[in-house]
């Protein structure tokens, strides 16, 4: 599904990713953990196609195709989704308007028919209900004045509606209260299927109790320094990153 090969990336001449190798297979949930500043968000941005990063070496393959030359919207249309660590506020654009634009843009690019307004509204209502997203949030300007937790819920709502083949969640758990964490995790779990895969970036083992990963990887100083099963997360929770080039916990 997603394969990262020897990925090197820098920003403003500063090297951030130093040869990342990572393979996430169809149907799999992989977790990435790692100290602050180790390059987790950078990796997700490079995969999603944010401007400003220079990839000096390596490639990122989605279903065998190198996506690094594609524009962000083309990657999205191919089924890539990134739930942002810090979702952006868009004044003047209601959440509904945005959701409809996003869903129909992807459909257009894939040569599918656009959603009718009633179909769209039905889909949104069902997903919002399930994820506990309040109706008034959908009418307000996107993310403007939303609480930290509300923004994260809305990221998952977007993911549920866009039904990506590969979803990256960058610290979607931070800022969520205990109930929201469960609801959001259920939202992710209900999307799990043999032809989808997820990359979950988190600092806390707790999320992984809800979204149980197949593999856990440790990113440190721009490289994957350790990979293991879900028990690796428990070990990290206990010992911190001292064994992996990070500071002692």
């Amino acid at each position: 599904m997603l394969e990262i090969r020897n990925l090197h990336a820098e920003i403003g001449g500063k090297k951030i990713l130093n040869g990342v190798n990572l393979m996430v297979k169809s149907g799999e949930v992989a977790a990435i953990m790692g100290p602050n500043g180790s390059g987790k968000s950078t990796l997700s941005y490079v995969i999603a196609g944010r401007d400003g990063y220079e990839v000096t070496e390596g490639e990122a393959l989605l279903d065998g195709e190198n996506i690094l030359a594609l524009d962000p919207h083309e990657r999205a249309a191919k089924g890539l989704f990134l739930a942002f660590q810090y979702p952006l506020e868009i004044p003047g654009v209601t959440t509904m308007t945005f959701l409809k634009a996003a869903m129909n843009s992807q459909r257009k690019q894939r040569g599918e028919a656009e959603l009718t307004t009633p179909d769209f509204i039905k889909k949104v209502n069902v997903a919002a209900e399930r994820l506990g997203v309040k109706k008034d949030m959908l009418r307000r300007a996107l993310n403007v004045g939303f609480s930290g937790g509300e923004k994260k819920r809305l990221e998952v709502l977007q993911m549920a509606l866009l039904e990506p083949r590969f979803g990256i969640l960058d610290e979607t758990d931070s800022g969520l209260d205990i109930d929201a964490l469960r609801i959001v995790a259920e939202g992710v779990n209900s999307l799990r299927s043999p032809d989808r895969a997820f990359l979950v970036i988190t600092h806390y083992q707790r999320l992984l109790d809800y979204i149980v990963p197949d593999n856990v990887h440790v990113l440190s100083k721009g490289r994957i320094v350790k990979s293991g099963g879900k028990e690796l997360a428990l070990e990290l929770e206990k010992n911190g990153y001292r064994d992996y080039g990070g500071e002692a916990a």
Partner: protein, 440 residues
């Protein structure tokens, strides 16, 4: 041929300290001839108009040396003055829509049945019989020293006088459509007076259509008695005017409210100038607008809000989207007189520049002479936010779609304040049309 004359500019009339010798431009000479060709006005209005032309003659077309016109040089913009166009041809009214063709009012206004409390007359029918009081309403002091306002007063032989009786609330929007009557080069001058009695209400949509060889100078003057309220919208449609000076003057009594929105798109040079005075306590004014500027357009919004009484409130919010080689100007001055305590004023101008050649000049000013007031202003000029663009593109929107959505959101924050739903959706349609046809 240009004549050389010596013009003495008196200090009390003009913002000019030196005695200036200037050569009359050919447009100024032509305007003099056009004025001379008009029928002589009679009565108080006639005197006021003659005085206004003398004022214009003394100052001439404003140049960048006049501070208020620093970014919009009318003298170099008007290389020649187009012939006066007057068209009294059949120009029937339709519903609450009134067409001013080349500045001339329809000739059947008297036969129309208007909603109760509304009276509409042609200015040309009012001028001759106007006494001192009415003349002072048609030609108020506010803005009178501005050369282009003076020129408008002198040259406008027609327009409208709209009266809303005490307590009358006219809910249906009244549309006044300024149009060019033909395709030949033409200059039109017109003035509309709107008088509202105590507690009266009106929604007035000022709609401008003009072909590319139109030089327009339009003025609209509102007097709001105590508790009166106005919703005003300025909107161009099929609008290509070569140059247009659009003046709005508003005088507000106690507890009166004036809420104005302008959509600016199309045309060559547009100078919108607003002179608003809160003469009564607790008067409330709001001026908002969206400018969509492309090509070589130049749009200048210059406003003066004068708080002459306590407990007033003013809000200004202008959003400018400037692309290609277009230029925008926003000059906003809020004056708070010494005894006008507890005034609450807020002024904002926000600009998105979409090309390297686009330009925006902002000049917000506060002149506060009272000590217990809350007044603020802010002006920002920037580009589309790269992170916001990335966020939208990461959700599947193409670059063009993402830009259009951000621009739409940016402008919508101002359009939201238009309370009449039909008018607002018309503005939104015009805006979407502009955004969709925008060259990227």
């Amino acid at each position: 041929m240009a004549t050389v004359i010596t013009v003495e500019k008196r200090r009390e009339d003009f913002d000019v300290t030196a005695v200036v010798t200037s050569i009359q431009s050919s447009a100024e000479t032509a305007l003099g001839k056009l004025y001379a060709s008009l029928p002589k006005g009679v009565g108080a209005a006639g005197v006021a108009r003659a005085r206004a032309f003398a004022r214009f003659e003394r100052s001439g077309l404003p140049t960048r040396r006049i501070e208020a016109w620093h970014y919009t040089d009318m003298r170099s913009a008007l290389r020649e003055a187009y012939p006066l166009a007057f068209d009294y041809a059949m120009n029937p009214t339709r519903g609450l829509r009134i067409d001013l063709i080349d500045g001339a009012a329809p000739d059947d206004l008297g036969q129309q049945t208007w909603p109760e409390g509304l009276r509409v007359r042609a200015l040309r029918d009012v001028l001759a019989g106007a006494g001192d009081d009415l003349a002072a309403k048609i030609y108020p002091d506010q803005g009178a020293n501005d050369a282009m306002v003076a020129l408008n007063a002198a040259m406008s032989g027609d327009g409208l006088v709209i009266e809303v009786a005490t307590g009358a609330r006219i809910e249906t929007p009244i549309g006044v459509y300024w149009r060019s009557g033909g395709v030949t080069p033409r200059s039109d001058f017109s003035r509309v007076l709107v008088l509202l009695g105590d507690g009266a209400h009106i929604t007035l949509v000022e709609s401008h259509a003009a072909h590319a060889r139109t030089q327009r100078n339009s003025a609209i003057v509102f007097h709001l008695a105590a508790g009166a309220s106005v919703e005003h919208v300025f909107v161009p449609e099929f609008y290509e005017a070569e140059s247009h000076v659009a003046t709005l003057i508003a005088e507000l009594g106690e507890c009166a409210a004036f809420n104005s929105f302008a959509l600016i798109a199309g045309g060559g040079l547009l100078r919108r100038q607003i002179f608003a005075r809160c003469a009564g306590e607790q008067a409330d004014v709001a001026f908002r607008g969206v400018s969509l500027l492309g090509g070589k357009q130049h749009a200048d919004t210059t406003l003066v809000v004068d708080h002459a009484a306590p407990h007033g409130r003013s809000r200004e919010l202008f959003k400018h989207i400037v692309t290609d080689g277009a230029s925008g100007v926003f000059q906003g001055k809020v004056i708070v007189r010494p005894h006008a305590q507890k005034v609450d004023g807020g002024m904002k101008s926000q600009t998105l520049l979409l090309s390297d050649d686009a330009a925006m000049y902002n000049k917000p000013e506060l002149e506060i002479f009272a000590d217990d007031v809350v007044c603020g202003h802010g002006a920002t000029v920037g580009e589309l936010d790269k992170d916001q663009l990335f966020y939208l593109m990461a959700r599947g929107l193409t670059k063009a779609e993402a830009e259009a959505l951000l621009l739409d959101g940016f402008a919508r924050e101002a359009i939201e304040f238009v309370s009449n739903e039909d008018v607002r959706s018309r503005l939104e349609t015009l805006m979407s049309d502009w955004l969709e046809s925008r060259p990227s």
